[in-house]
């Protein structure tokens, strides 16, 4: 067997880890993750957009429904989750677009590293930049809808778990629509039906958290969805990216 020349990503990964025993796929994934985070922090404007959108959608409901806190409190879980779903959908546009334009995705596919792991890292970075901030901002939005402060830990926890699943499901849709000129509406049509279970369990768990009762059952179901998404979505996204590069 002839030894293959190590790919640039693998070499960089080896030098970065100082030659210690790190699985190359994981090392490459870590590099992709830190690269995405670095890039994102150099373009901070983009990070604000989904958050501002989330706040804006939440604000629409008091204006459209009623300023009475008692009525708003009743619809708060639904409002929070619909707003989070739409905001994460909006943020999906940033997930692969730039890397598809400048050829980075193609290099990832050719690097000899597992594309699944690299896309998982990219999605993880995307979640750190959009899903997690959304979850941290959700209590603010909830309190503006008249939710008691005691519910804040529960709301954040449910939102953290739910946005993991949303980011990963969205990654499949974003990968399928790569290279399309106007993919916005189609992306929504592909992603939203697949995200409905997350919406159902997330909103129910939030409702229970706001009511001050145990929300462990829907949270566990939500966590199961997140685990399933972590396991399968990167595989599907990698397959979709490969199809787009054929």
């Amino acid at each position: 067997m002839q030894a293959q020349a190590p790919s640039p990503v693998a070499t960089a990964a080896a030098s970065l880890s100082g030659g210690t025993e790190v699985a190359p796929a994981l090392a490459a994934a870590r590099l992709a993750l830190s690269r995405d985070l670095t890039l994102a922090f150099r373009k901070r404007g983009q990070l604000i957009q989904p958050l501002a959108f989330f706040a804006l959608v939440t604000m629409l409901f008091p204006l459209a429904v009623s300023p009475e806190l008692s009525r708003l409190r009743a619809i708060a879980p639904g409002v929070l989750w619909v707003a989070a779903l739409l905001a994460s959908l909006l943020a999906l546009e940033f997930l692969f677009r730039d890397d598809a334009y400048d050829g980075t995705l193609e290099q990832y596919a050719l690097s000899g590293q597992s594309l699944t792991w690299l896309l998982f890292a990219k999605t993880a970075a995307h979640w750190l930049l959009t899903g997690l901030p959304l979850a941290l901002m959700a209590p603010l939005a909830a309190m503006s809808l008249g939710v008691a402060a005691a519910a804040v830990p529960g709301i954040v926890l449910v939102m953290v778990v739910g946005t993991v699943a949303l980011s990963l499901i969205g990654a499949i849709g974003a990968a399928l629509t790569l290279g399309m000129k106007r993919s916005g509406a189609l992306l929504a049509l592909l992603t939203l039906p697949l995200s409905l279970p997350v919406l159902i369990y997330g909103a129910r768990a939030t409702e229970l958290a706001i009511g001050g009762t145990s929300f462990i059952a829907p949270l566990e179901l939500l966590a199961a969805l997140a685990v399933l998404a972590v396991t399968l979505a990167p595989l599907a996204a990698a397959a979709a990216v490969r199809i787009s590069l054929e």
């Binding site: 399928l176 189609l186 049509l189 039906p193 279970p197 369990y201 179901l221 787009s244």
Partner: protein, 245 residues
């Protein structure tokens, strides 16, 4: 194990001719079963003791709903075959399934809401099955939308195939989460279709129609597959030879 029959199916001219030959074998039994089943269901079967004559819509509603799911599974399997074995005609089959399945879904939704008016007093109730059916319609629309989004047939085929497989994994999850959701917000006395204790005079026409709808789907699918193959292979020489013969 001999796989030659499978390989032969992958050849567009062979499948085109086979589809043409098989169509009447499905179309005529489908027509007879549907006409007979409708007569038995709409005329011969006794009215329901609770729902009166209104229950008869199940003879269209239940087979449509059943087909909407079965067509989705057929589409997903065809898409998977196309993706795994790179079989172009399997993608043609998957692409032909989508509009048929979407039509069955629309039929199930329309008949369901028409049935709802006399039974529930309103055209739409967020019943778990109607809701699942509506979501299924969006899954079909997404599949067709993704196909339409690409000019390149191969890219459209393979991307849509992947989406169909993802959708197949998700359909049960969506369905059970919707049932779970509905069990929390149980409305006032939702009546259920298709009680297990249906007398034979009502049940037999339903089974006949289920079979008839399935054969009807097979016949329409074969016709659509031929059209799809003609369109895809329009530059191929065998088409001219076949059509002149």
């Amino acid at each position: 194990m001999r796989w030659t029959w499978f390989h032969r199916l992958a050849s567009p001219p062979y499948l085109y001719a086979l589809a043409a030959r098989l169509t009447p074998w499905f179309a005529w039994p489908a027509a007879l079963l549907i006409l007979g089943g409708l007569y038995a269901g709409l005329v011969l079967a006794p009215p329901d003791y609770q729902q009166g004559e209104g229950f008869r819509i199940i003879y269209v509603h239940v087979p449509s709903a059943w087909m909407s799911l079965m067509v989705y599974v057929t589409m997903g399997v065809a898409a998977a075959v196309g993706l795994i074995w790179r079989m172009k005609v399997a993608h043609a089959v998957a692409a032909s399934c989508a509009p048929i399945g979407a039509s069955f879904t629309v039929a199930a939704l329309v008949t369901g809401s028409l049935w709802g008016k006399p039974m529930w007093g309103t055209y739409w109730v967020w019943d778990p099955r109607l809701t699942s059916e509506l979501i299924l319609l969006f899954l079909y629309l997404g599949f067709m939308g993704l196909r339409a989004g690409f000019d390149d047939t191969q890219r459209a085929d393979r991307s849509a195939a992947l989406l169909a497989i993802v959708g197949m994994v998700n359909v049960p999850i969506i369905h059970y989460s919707v049932i779970w959701w509905n069990s929390l917000h149980q409305g006032p006395s939702v009546m259920r279709l298709g009680k297990p204790t249906m007398p034979p005079a009502m049940l037999v026409p339903l089974l006949v129609l289920l079979l008839g709808f399935t054969l009807f789907f097979a016949a329409v699918l074969l016709v659509r597959v031929r059209a799809e193959i003609l369109q895809r292979e329009r530059a191929a020489r065998w088409i001219g030879e076949t059509l002149r013969a």
